[in-house]
Symmetry: C2
Amino acid sequence: MALELSCTRAEADQKQLMRCRETLGTNSKTITEISKVLALAGNETRLKILFLLNEEGELCPCDFADILEMSVPAVSQHIRKMKDVGLIASRREGQTLYYSLVPNHNEVMDNVFTEIQKNKKVA
Amino acid sequence: MALELSCTRAEADQKQLMRCRETLGTNSKTITEISKVLALAGNETRLKILFLLNEEGELCPCDFADILEMSVPAVSQHIRKMKDVGLIASRREGQTLYYSLVPNHNEVMDNVFTEIQKNKKVA
DNA sequence: ATATTATTTAAGTATTTGCTTAAATAATTA
DNA sequence: TAATTATTTAAGCAAATACTTAAATAATAT
């Protein structure tokens, strides 16, 4: 099907619309990748996991289960999603798997962490 | 029900677990708020809308429908979600509603935009 | 070997999400 | 006033999400 215009208003700026399409094309891959990371961090439980890893270095699934007061499988499934995109990595020590942030995977997340810390409630 | 521990391993660092719970408590409100913004930006269509608003200043729903090649109601519903949390605002000019980013609403998003631009594909 | 512990994986389910189409508002024009 | 245009809102639905419980791995200890 041909490209259908939804908007017929006189003020519609065709050059602007073309420029926007081009901008999206140029940044398409980055936008897709960043939106994936943001979708992961957009879940409160996962953001807590990432934030804690940033604070503590490494933690294991049962630590998170204790801290977040949720089941170990639920934690494990969140962790897997973040591992799948390379946000976090694991290290085995006996039966325990320690998870940690992959450094410099995504600058956006670094900024998210500092932003959370900046707004820390002053006791 | 009482707080049940999932993890009984000897190495479990009770002080660390307490510290983590406290950290989450202290930052609870911020984490909740930021995760909401990230969840919104974690949708590729919405991230494109936000990115375009950052580039162009203001655009109307039918502009987005044209650019993103999707229906006007679909765009409108995405826009509403972002307006509901105060990420964007509207200005009416006749029949047309122009949407724009609310400045300084969230520093995290500013960083997301610069991160997208930084990775721009070099033509 | 068997049992225990830490974790993952799988299957099932309720909720949420993102679209669709149709109808409702709102402003403009004839 | 009636018709047109821009937009929102509502209802319905398929797909995705986040949990649950039970079963499967994997490492350690008895």
